[in-house]
């Protein structure tokens, strides 16, 4: 009798142990992982302005004016509030102005770098990948530090952006940690042999700061990018239309010269003088603000990526 009772107790104990072990593994797997130390670099605000345009910060974080996308000087007011629709729900961009209370004015450089490149907030929570840190992870950390120096020069905006809530199970932020195991990778997507300095400059802009793949690459069921179809076009996240294939195939970029791509990014006109449209208008205006050699580097990179039908 006593032996049987003991074995039931032992079984319950073992089950409890297994549940706790699984919970511990799950907790460990979903834990935020951060960068511990910054590279030796003196942040340069002027250089950071270029990164600001390349990264498209204002496209999401500039506070809309009368319900419309901010343009001109209003793009310097990063109070947040713009919505980003997705199949998982609508995300709202937060205030990233240097306001000490409502924005990111109180953040240290390391906290900023971890937010941008690892998707981890200063209080150790995961950001949803609507904030494209899986792309920003491929930036040079020195560039991210320059970016913060530039953001610090912009006007503080008071007021927090609206909060948002996704449907279960996406509402469990901690689960983003598991997602990051599969989707957060700092390795280049495309490399050329032999290495080419111009293509590499373009790679940092397209794969990193410009986060082009976030819209131009299709996503799997859980929202991770399908790298086998890198830049090969995807359904639009907001449900209307398609984001085009920008690999060198078919009627798209294959028929465009590098000069055509540069001119498109500078002016917004295709070689047929059709205009840029949709969300790409804001992107193109950011690209137009870059130095010409950056647009040339982007064009060189796009000519170098593998063609995918």
């Amino acid at each position: 009798m006593a032996g049987a009772r003991k074995s039931v107790g032992a079984r319950v104990g073992r089950l409890l142990f297994e549940v706790l072990l699984l919970a511990a593994i799950g907790w460990w797997l979903t834990a935020p992982r951060t960068i511990d130390a910054l590279p030796e670099h003196v942040p340069d605000a002027a250089a950071g302005e270029r990164i600001f345009h390349a990264s498209g910060c204002a496209s999401c974080h500039a506070t809309p004016v009368d319900g419309r996308r901010a343009t001109g000087d209003a793009r310097r007011l990063l109070g947040g509030g713009a919505g980003l629709a997705s199949p998982f729900g609508t995300f709202v961009a937060p205030n990233i102005s240097p306001d000490a209370h409502d924005g990111i004015g109180g953040w240290s450089m390391l906290e900023f770098v971890n937010a941008v490149q690892r998707g981890v907030s200063p209080d150790g929570r995961h950001y949803y990948p609507a904030f494209p840190y899986t792309s920003y992870a491929r930036m040079r950390t020195e560039d991210v530090m320059d970016l913060k120096a530039y953001l610090d020069t912009l006007p503080p905006v008071s007021g927090k952006a609206d909060s948002f809530r996704l449907a279960f199970p996406w509402s469990l932020r901690r689960g983003v940690g598991l997602w990051k195991w599969w989707n957060l990778d700092v390795a280049p997507v495309v490399t050329t042999e032999p290495p080419d300095a111009v293509v590499e400059r373009g790679r940092l802009l397209v794969e990193g700061a410009g986060h082009c793949g976030e819209c131009h690459t299709p996503r799997g069921r859980f929202g991770g990018l399908d790298y086998s179809r890198w830049l090969a076009g995807a359904p639009s996240m907001d449900g209307e239309g398609r984001v085009p294939n920008i690999t060198p195939v078919g009627k798209g970029v294959a028929g465009w010269s590098a000069a055509d791509i540069e001119y498109y990014l500078e002016s917004g006109f295709t070689p047929d003088f059709d205009t840029v449209g949709g969300d790409m208008v804001a992107v193109q205006e950011n690209m137009a603000a870059l130095p010409a050699e950056d647009r040339a580097a982007i064009a060189a990179y796009l000519k170098a990526v593998p063609p995918i039908e």
Partner: protein
């Protein structure tokens, strides 16, 4: 036998003509064709601005006339019931934000009118009046055109 097949051909021809007439009257087809005309008219002007096409005042005037005509009729081609179908590239915002759409279209009409009044005779004179027209195209496509492959 021959007679009946001839009749059949005639009947088919009549049906297809009627179908084409219906299709041509569909606002989704009309507005698409109108925009294609605008794009074709814009192409040489874009080339002049980019420096790949030589400036020609007559071509500019002809294109501006095409723009002006399009600006006056385009707004009437978005009736209720034409929101979807036939591969339309109109966004839902045209109907949900009709005032914004009308304002964007009015902006296009006004910069075209200014360019016509200026009647530019040189590339240097054309640049400042053609630039805003292209910006108006882009400004409207920003919110009111769906992008496709």
């Amino acid at each position: 036998m021959q007679k009946s097949s001839l009749c059949l051909v005639a009947l088919l021809a009549a049906i297809s003509t009627a179908a084409m007439a219906v299709a041509n009257e569909d606002p989704r087809v009309q507005r698409h064709e109108l925009m294609e005309g605008v794009r074709d008219a814009a192409k040489p002007l874009g080339g002049m601005l980019r420096g790949t096409v030589e400036f020609d005042a007559d071509t500019v005037a002809a294109s501006l006339a095409t723009f002006s005509e399009a600006a006056s009729t385009f707004g009437s081609l978005f009736p209720e019931g034409s929101e979807t179908g036939m591969d339309t590239q109109a966004t839902a915002a045209i109907w949900s934000d009709r005032d914004g759409f009308d304002a964007a279209l009015a902006k296009f009409a006004s910069v075209v009118e200014q360019a016509q009044a200026a009647a530019p005779a040189s590339l240097d004179a054309a640049k400042p009046v053609l630039g805003p027209i292209f910006q108006a195209c882009k400004g409207c496509h920003d919110d009111y055109r769906v992008e496709k492959d």
